[in-house]
């Protein structure tokens, strides 16, 4: 079913598709470079990109806090100081959240390791955790790094690491899962959402699995994982019909042995990267690859990204951009910096996808659920803002946005680069060039070409920046621009 794409079928539209799906898109020049590199090299560049950690160092604030010491100190402060200290703490948490979101978006936007960031986003939607419950930006940052480290690694190792992840321990109540009073929350979602999918386990399996996680706790002094021996349940457990003194890792290993697990993950990965509702045979084949490689993610991704099916008509431009994809890809296509984190947070909230704030433990449903009357109009209005050289950004710099202070004012849209004078002199070529930049289609539909040319025609020869902004705005305020 899945066969490799013949190398001679490699063309600019397919190179753009690879960059859009395995990353966050790029400029026409970047797409052309990937096309020129040839199919094998292009896929290899995404799969085996160099580590980018040096370019994205740990933010200053991303350090564990001694929560017990903090509480002790707060208790000992007299009332007015205590309140003041707590308010300061609140403010600093808010700044950390901006820092966290800004740090990750900047990495999606600027990392040469695009596939790893895209997979980190995928895994964030899979092993979801929300700031609303966890409340510690450092915990989410730590989890994000764990997802990144394992993004192209081993799924079993990642699942075990996530079970020990402090933010997850907090999010799904493992901290409240006690030897004498088990809490089933994590055990249930582990099987229902993280590994097997519904229908592949019993309520009893959940109750028994929950007992193996009781000793997983957060150390409140270091915000790191600790094994709590006094919470360990050493009794016999019956899991998937087998009896033994299983540990949490044993339970995860037994889950991975089930063919349903490889199928569930393979299907979800394909859906995220290629298209929805893949044929059962396709899922079987991917799951087989996944199992044969003992749940290594890189071979799974390689099979997907090399397959002719990934580049088929069913796949190219069939996906609705997620809000994060829309946001980062727009900036990359237009060769402009991302707006500051606070603007990003407001934008992504109104579009329905805040990083680190998934709607629930199932993550984002994606696909058509991104779009309704209000989010679509919101995308149109935000597109206008993006091409306008948003004056609000200047005001934000004056108000002391931390990201602004650090990096200076973001580079606005450079219209001379996007539409140089020679191009502006030739309306057809201009429409074609901007069309490829925004839609990555080698030819626009007749209706699109006609409408865009009509717009230029209506400007009576005015090819100023204002006209170009209007044209970009019009192109982005379309159903077509929501697709990738």
């Amino acid at each position: 079913m899945l066969t490799p794409l013949p190398a001679h079928e490699w063309d600019p539209a397919k190179a753009a598709h690879l960059l859009n799906r395995a990353g966050f898109g790029g400029t026409p020049a970047e797409i052309e470079a990937l096309h020129q590199a040839g199919f094998d090299t292009a896929v290899h560049r995404l799969l085996d990109a160099p580590d980018d950690s040096a370019a994205f160092p740990k933010p200053d604030w991303a350090a564990p806090q001694d929560l017990m010491e903090d509480q002790r100190m707060l208790r000992n402060l007299p009332e007015p100081e205590r309140r003041e200290k707590m308010q300061k703490e609140q403010m600093s948490k808010m700044q950390q959240i901006y820092g966290l979101v800004g740090w990750w978006l900047a990495r999606m936007w600027g990392s040469p390791n695009q596939l790893r960031e895209k997979l980190t986003l995928f895994w964030h939607g899979h092993f979801t955790t929300s700031l609303l419950k966890v409340r510690e930006p450092f915990g989410l940052w730590q989890q994000n790094e764990t997802l990144r480290q394992n993004a192209l690694g081993n799924f079993g190792a990642m699942t075990k690491a996530i079970a020990r992840d402090p933010a997850m321990i907090s999010y799904l109540d493992t901290q409240q899962n006690h030897k004498n009073h088990p809490n089933e929350n994590f055990a249930r979602e582990l099987m229902e959402l993280f590994t097997l999918g519904i229908g592949n386990y019993t309520e009893e399996d959940i109750q028994q699995a929950a007992r193996t996680f009781t000793c997983y706790k957060i150390n409140p002094r270091t915000m790191s994982f600790q094994l709590a021996d006094f919470e360990r349940d050493d009794g016999e457990k019956k899991f998937f019909g087998r009896i033994g003194n299983f540990t949490a890792d044993d339970v995860i290993d037994m889950i991975l042995e089930k063919p349903a697990c490889a199928k569930y993950i393979a299907r979800k990965v394909w859906t995220f990267f290629a298209y929805e509702d893949p044929a059962p045979a396709l899922v079987e084949q991917l799951a087989g690859t996944f199992r044969d490689h003992r749940y290594e993610i890189r071979p799974l991704m390689e099979e997907i990204l090399r397959s002719a099916e990934f580049y088929s008509a069913a796949s190219i431009r069939s996906q609705i951009k997620s809000p994060i994809q829309w946001y980062v890809q727009t900036a990359r296509e237009l060769d402009m910096d991302l707006p500051p984190a606070r603007t990003a947070m407001n934008t992504l909230r109104s579009l329905g996808q805040m990083p680190f704030l998934p709607p629930n433990v199932k993550g984002w449903d994606g696909g058509k659920t991104w779009i309704n009357a209000s989010t679509l109009l919101m995308r149109y209005n935000l597109a206008a803002l993006a091409v306008s050289g948003d004056p609000r950004m200047g005001r934000m710099a004056e108000n002391g946005d931390p990201q602004m202070a650090e990096h200076g004012r973001p580079k606005p849209l450079d219209l001379a680069k996007i539409a140089p004078p020679a191009l502006r002199a030739d309306p057809k070529a201009l429409v074609q060039a901007l069309g490829f930049r925004l839609f990555q289609k080698e030819t626009l539909t007749a209706k699109e070409a006609e409408v865009f040319l009509k717009y230029l025609d209506d400007q009576h020869g005015d090819t100023s920046d204002q006209t170009i902004r209007g044209l970009l705005n019009l192109m982005m305020s379309t159903p077509e621009f929501q697709l990738t």
Partner: protein
Amino acid sequence: MKHSHSVPEPHTNTLHTRRQFMRTSMLGAAVSWTLPVFLEKTFMTLDAMAADSAVQTPTGKDGSILVVLQLAGGNDGLNTVVPHADDAYYNARPVIGVKPGQILIIDDLIGLHPQLAGLKGLYDDGHLGIIQGVGYPNPDRSHFRSTDIWQSASDAERYETHGWIGRYFDSCCRGADPTVGVAIGSEMPMAFAGENPTGIAFARPEQLHWSAGGGGRSAEALFRELNKPDEVHAGATVGAVGAALPHGGSTLDFLQRVALDAQVSSEKISAIAGKFQAGAEYPRTPLGQGLGLVSRLIAGGLPTRVYYVSQGGYDTHTNQVGTHDRLLGELGDSLAAFAKDLKAQGNFERVVLLTFSEFGRRVAQNGSNGTDHGAAAPLFILGGKVKAGTYGRYPSLTELDRGDLVFNVDFRSVYATVLEQWLQAPGEKVLGRRFPLLPIV
């Protein structure tokens, strides 16, 4: 003729009948032709708008309205409607049980949580029904699966892609304005999914406006051109709209359809939201503000049959009491304000509000002073025409199914009642089979 009975009207008047006649005759000539979906839709919209300029659209001022309120996360029914006379309740919940002196007594057996004073007032005024022990066979304890079951009205073993409200729109509201279903929130509820997807979702009315960028009038016209469905994609016969488009057509069709819906709805909703003020003091919470917005849209005569509102946060596994108090306080106060507002408008008799949650919670408290996922639970129904009282039986707290309450009212009986007796819709067709009705409205 689909459209002649597309909007069942309990109160017919001559003007309305005349409009209906014009509408059907306008489309009548085209019935046997192939007509693109968007054209059919546009005709209906234009027609509705024309009607609107003379008098209110029929569904706006004289139709019955359903408001569905989802309590997301699994509301703890036992601490909402408290079986205060049952020792088993206090034995199972030594820490989190509601203290006897605080309960708002309904009768010898049950009472409401102390934060629900707003609902108690509605009960005393004769506008609140409490349906006890609502659930379904073989209950699922997963949030998502159980929410899907409630939204699709399917059996626990069946997976449906369409929702019960979407199927109601399909069978009764073909060709209606997209605002026939309005969900307050950023996501369209699965309950609205249908063969022929309709309805709009938005959190705030100001989100529903397109600013024409810098391009002025010319850009505005071109924008409209780009945002209407392609004829080649949308071809379908009038009688078979939807059937020709499984799963609502391709992704591009879907986007084009939403774009058109957004255009025709945005001006109308912005105008109403700007013109009408809330007539009661709502809590400054998403639920309070959401219900306030619904009330304004009703006042403005939006032709909506079903509104959908939700309140989240009910997944109280840990230290439940404080969280649950806050949520129920918000719920009770919001509903009381909503009822007061509608009464002041003179629309309370036209509205029924129904709550639901994907499941109740386990009878026994857990080790973290919270409760885990359970099964059957009570739900509330309120409105000017609702017959106040309790319906169904309170489930036994000792004869449990795996620690959970056993249902005695199938939730689809509640849906069937609302569909048939309130929306005048064919319940059996929408729900797939017949369910016993409750004497509520």
